[in-house]
């Protein structure tokens, strides 16, 4: 299990506790395997949909540097998602390919959180959405390094290096926009207020998540929830932004119940593969 130190700069320890290896028989059970696949989709679809959202910005960034940065981040996410989908395809052991998983599912079959499908309303929204996700993602990948599953450990070690760059980028911009001009502040505050209701879902656990947490494959993110909000609120304060007071949070994406935006994303993303089936780069 991951531990959280009490010092001011809290780190998720990844060396203190020895890793418990997954019992090789574990995946012989059909139920376990399906849970693992569903769990992986819940993780990976976040990268796919956020990567797609960021990709939409290619050539549309506010100026050259953020434009390049956002598409770089998109590329990292799409790269990571490929590894997850390849692993799922391997687990399925049939003819399914990573492309089938990415492009040929129906809306209800995608398990990403609602946060990542929210539109690129303006640069403020893009940055806030990214920051809310990046803080979570880095904590998640840190904790996933303790997974009982060897492949997931490898992906976590690989992904966290990139995730730290992402968090630095979105955090820096959030500070700059919040503590910037009156205009940038009011707009980024609006984004914070609007997107805040989607943060809680990051910690929502599905049946597959619970099964994988019990098996030691998945970290129990609920344990890190307090730390997440502490970190996010600390940066919002530095950015001179108000922390929203919300009682009601939105969820559903992880169960396949998406917002009205999801269909449009898929229509755009799946167009090529559905028009020219089995097309390859």
């Amino acid at each position: 299990m991951e531990t959280i130190s009490n010092s001011k700069t809290k780190v998720i320890s990844n060396s203190a506790v020895p890793i418990k290896e997954l019992n090789p028989q574990f995946l012989e059970s059909k139920e376990n395997k399906q849970h693992l696949i569903d769990y992986l989709l819940g993780v990976a679809d976040n990268y796919l949909i956020l990567g797609q959202r960021l990709g939409e910005l290619c050539g549309h960034g506010p100026n050259l540097e953020p434009d390049i940065a956002l598409t770089n981040i998109s590329l990292d996410m799409l790269g990571q998602v490929r590894s997850f989908y390849q692993y799922i395809a391997q687990l399925k052991g049939d003819k399914t390919t990573e492309d089938d998983i990415a492009f040929l599912r129906k809306e209800r079959e995608y398990k990403n959180v609602l946060l990542v499908e929210q539109p690129n309303t303006d640069f403020g929204y893009v940055i806030v959405r990214q920051f809310f996700f990046d803080v979570y993602n880095r904590m998640f990948l840190g904790a996933l390094q303790q997974s009982a599953d060897e492949t997931l450990r490898a992906l976590a070690f690989k992904g966290i290096k990139e995730a730290s760059y992402h968090e630095r980028f979105s955090g820096d911009w959030l500070k700059r926009l919040g503590d910037g001009t009156e205009e940038s502040k009011s707009r980024v505050q609006e984004a914070v207020n609007d997107l805040w209701i989607f943060t809680d879902e990051l910690f929502h656990s599905t049946k597959a998540d619970d099964a994988m947490i019990a098996a030691g494959v998945a970290p129990d993110m609920l344990q890190l929830k307090e730390y997440y909000y502490e970190k996010v609120e600390e940066l919002l304060s530095t950015a001179t932004l108000d922390i929203p007071e919300v009682e009601y949070f939105q969820k559903g994406g992880k169960e396949g119940l998406h917002s009205e935006h999801m269909g449009y994303i898929l229509a755009d993303m799946q167009y090529m593969q559905r028009t020219y089936p089995d097309s390859k780069w």
């Binding site: 540097e65 590329l75 790269g79 990571q80 690989k158 290096k161 630095r168």
Partner: protein
Amino acid sequence: MTNNSSSNSSSNSSSSRMANQVFGSLPKSVVAILETVKDPEIPVLNVVDLGVIREVIVEGKEITIKLTPTYSGCPAMDVIGDDLERAFAVHGYSTTVQLIMSPPWTTDWITDRGRKALEEYGVAAPLEETADKDVLLNDKKLVKCTNCGSQNTKLVSQFGSTACKAMFQCEDCLEPFDYFKCLK
């Protein structure tokens, strides 16, 4: 330039140790073929110097190459895989390329020859980890301009034309240049 030299020496031991492990027992002709395959984004850097070749198994005319990606989404990896197959096919080998994730690639595995080639090409070689953080937060001036050698350089953007690079500019000669980000 203490930082730069210390980073050089640390990468030196790590990259040469790895190179020995991977290439030590291979026929020279095989290494020579490997060296003809370049990173398509940085054509002065071959795959050996880039440190992405983790294992090579030669069985007669069949060769298995285990490759580790630099950045997850780097489109160069697919191209490198194809290029390896093509390069070995010319010499009558059939090649299987496998991507392996663990342990993850680090810029420490770029060889000294590779670092030199980068610098000559106009891309500043990665500093060691702490120094890299300092320059990417724009706290310290440690990256040397690839044009005039001045250390009076500033970060323009943490992200550059490819996933592995950041954009810098020299404040003395005004040359804009790429910096290869440290990945550890």
